[in-house]
Symmetry: C5
Subunit: 261 residues, 5 copies
């Protein structure tokens, strides 16, 4: 962890990452309900919303779309990922180097670590290389910290999420992206474990506006520093409305009711 | 994806790759029906046809034959490949470096990725190295995107082909070479998933002229940008006739009937 | 082994490492009994005690907290570690490079080797790289020498601990951190096997003050050079009291009774 | 494939490699019938015969004996090999780098690839490194192309040998060393598949002079470019007589009868 | 093999290596009978005997003790080794680089290769790197050539030992350290197979003076060039007496009876 409040990834010390790596991780099936959501441009447009501090995409999407948005969007390059065709123990291919991410214009990097997978050792060593290279470029590092694999039964238990956020601190991530442990108390525990590493909630699958904002509010009340959201934004017909509400909750401290008005 | 319309791989934004790596991938059995087809020179001659934007061969063939054709043919160096003697999970040896491909004179590179194979992680990381090295030389990258392996039952379903073309976009390929999903609608889906990455159809095994041209026409009508063809050209006694027809369909927008005249 | 008495890791040739890598190795469960113990700052504060020669933490904790303590605490960077979510044969990810440890300000490094694990070969080769790189920076090397794995039944037998300390000598560690073999005689054997490599006891889980100090005294009487202690310090409500006692026993040769007064 | 007719490996475009790597590949058992054949000097002496274009040995033999023969013998450094104590899937350790081969004075290199082995991918990638490094030194590359492994039932069938020689062409070997497929027709097929890559027969175990020369003659008549011979030369009491006959058949186009006179 | 007679490893072309790597390979159990034998200084003292051409130790022992003996003892750095806690197929961790061995002051290097192990390929490739790096420093290379593993039933048969010494020659070792094959004839066979590579006997477990000297004498009579001895020297109360006798047998051609007087 190093101080990142002055980096483009943060606004008032908080973070709202708009993630759009689902075409790789989940495949086209995620775009079925709203076919136009397959188009990265639509999500880049959404990322121009002032609530969004950075857009998180894979290398190919970054190369193709970021140049048109470099004045209006900050780029978090997600450095690893795997298709859901993969049938092995949880693992993630490093598909972009830090050097190349910097060249494309990224102002931060993202990296998945599956603690507890049979590939944990290898992934942590790849994370080391990425994190140390990112330090040389002065780029903040966000860890997608998702315990998963043969030893994990329930990967959103409070204990698992607390461990996930601690791993991010111990291994040198500046931001820990973890799943919501189901309660404000669970998130408080995770936040305490992370020390100065900022904890942000992973948005997960699409829910109702209210339900989603309530979990975000709980995260903020628990001391979390924001959100990495994907489907709950770009699977909506009107991403802007929810981004307005998220801006209110995350950056302005609004209540869910107020944000929904 | 980066803009490649001005590269030698493209003509009017479209692509016709004449592939001749079958001696490695399939072995001499592919030449049985037409013994002279084993001779790479015959296919290099065919590649001088104006319809062909590049010839795709492995390193050894490139070294031996390209120097005599460098004024008349553009070289796509296929960087990986495997013999069909291989009995393991789908995988592909990187048998040529990008540095060497550039030295031999390649103006683009090709790389196979078997999404869903137990070797997906490794292949994607090898692809990363190749793609980033190719970027340094300014060489477009074509991904042979073929989901295959333990998790894949039907590798030409619409969903699989759409995922294949999305993987190409997400991982930074400039052209996605995918199998024909069986219909124009299936190809439209694949094309939408690829965004600005050009989707070209993989020619597959030899069929009749009409049948082949109909699938090519469907690809072009679906928004595909061309074709990578091998056996359907060089297994024919007269490659030129079919190349004339392909030129009409791909670059001149002709109907299949018109092209067959 | 090289002479390290003049290094910050030593005081009068003896060593007291305050270890705080449990958040990675054991997870938040270690902090349950005393929630404030999760906060690294609390242990950094404890490390300002004159009894402590160095604090041992992982990269992320070092980055976040060491800068505020660099005038009052010496940093031992622990270079590898694993979560207890890991279900494979004992192994440890190298999560920090020596170059980076030096840049963060470490004055010594720590490295776990699990002799007898199926990963022994790999870990010893990683240790080689770390030890030789540390030599270039002039940083002493502490081996967490813990025989463990398929071949090991009882990992605190005298023979196993003696082998553990000999491995540290043979492989070039300056300090061997080994478990207590249960008796002064066992520790004498381990000390003899280590030659000039300093043997320090690994503190283990929390016990009573008297019991703990008695084992430390036995280690010193056996020729050991000190202690690496974690939970027995920071899981106590008042770490200072025990550190005062440890200072008396380790650096002033006091009896346990005298130290407890 | 690059032009190598002007290299020391060739005489009038043809090749006669005297191979003496059996001490590694087969072990001392190959020397049992003729104990003095164990002495590399005896085979180096034989290699001074004008019929021999290069001697193929492993690094250690080259280091020890080549310096005394550098004016009279050309050195082909065989870069990989395995003892027959190895019980795994066919594989071959790369026991000499190209840099070192060049330093010792090699004028060409040799490399085994077992197509169809579970190690095919790895061996082909090692071959790539060797071939590309050899290109930098301007050293011709000879592939010992031996399909072998779990998928291979009969490794001297015509189809297998034809595939073996094609692999050599596709992967960039200048010379393909393949087993004799049992007939002139089979060898013609292999030669056609290799294009400009020179196909030479692998000598195999010792037979009668006539039988051996007949197969060599068949190879030359089939368009083969020569022979890599070991045991059929150095297991003979008088290597010179057979080398005289081989010179006649390979370089002078003599009939077997004429060569045997 | 390169000429090494003028190197510190040799005296009149012969070699007597005093090996003391047992603390790593066997563990403290080897010191049980004579506790003071655990102290490396005692063996370094023994190594000042004029019969000893070099002492063979692992990195850590070399770092700690060699500086005090550098004027009186020559250092052979053993570069790899494994604890006997290891339960896998025979393998050996490379625990010291050649660069570091040279920096510590080694005048030769030692490296174990287990021919026939499932790790043979990997070990031979590691040997290649070590041997070629040693060549750059001009350091002679000694191969501990011990066929061992799944395919090996009797690893001291004449055939196995002959193969072991041949492997050393073929792979570029300057000295082959092999086990005694049980007879002078067996050793003669091994010596013939090694060509100019010097064959030295591996001392093995402790026996009587006479029995040990008789095998050494047989080795010398068989054309062997010396001995690598460990336990038969340092497990003796008076190492000097046996070293005197070994000097007589190895360097002065004395009979066993004369040497024992």
């Amino acid at each position: 962890m190093i101080p990142i409040d002055d980096s483009p990834l943060c606004r008032d010390g908080k973070v709202l990452i708009l993630a759009f790596d689902h075409g790789l991780e989940h495949g086209p099936v995620d775009f079925t309900g709203l076919p136009e959501s397959a188009d990265p441009e639509r999500t880049f447009e959404a990322a121009t919303h002032p609530a969004v501090t950075s857009i998180a995409v894979q290398k190919g999407i970054a190369e193709a779309y970021y140049p048109s948005y470099e004045d209006d969007v900050d780029l978090l390059m997600k450095l690893n990922g795997t298709s859901n065709l993969w049938m092995g123990e949880p693992d993630s291919a490093v598909n972009c180097s830090v050097d190349y991410a910097a060249e494309v214009g990224a102002s931060s990097i993202g990296f998945t670590v599956y603690g507890g997978s049979n590939h944990e050792i290898e992934m942590v060593e790849e994370f080391r290389d990425a994190q140390e290279a990112a330090r040389e470029y002065g780029l903040p590092t966000v860890m997608w910290s998702y315990p998963r694999g043969q030893g994990l039964k329930n990967d959103t238990s409070e204990d698992t999420i607390a461990y996930a956020s601690r791993l991010a601190l111990e291994l040198g991530a500046d931001v820990a992206k973890v799943k919501y442990p189901g309660s404000k108390e669970g998130m408080e525990h995770a936040v305490r474990m992370a020390g100065p590493t900022k904890v942000v909630m992973s948005g997960g699958s699409k829910t109702t506006d209210r339900e989603f904002l309530q979990s975000v509010k709980a995260v903020m009340d628990a001391g979390g520093k924001g959100l990495a959201v994907g489907r709950n934004v770009w699977q909506r017909e009107d991403p802007t409305a929810l981004l307005d509400a998220l801006e209110a909750v995350i950056f302005e401290g609004a209540s869910v009711d107020a944000a929904l008005e």
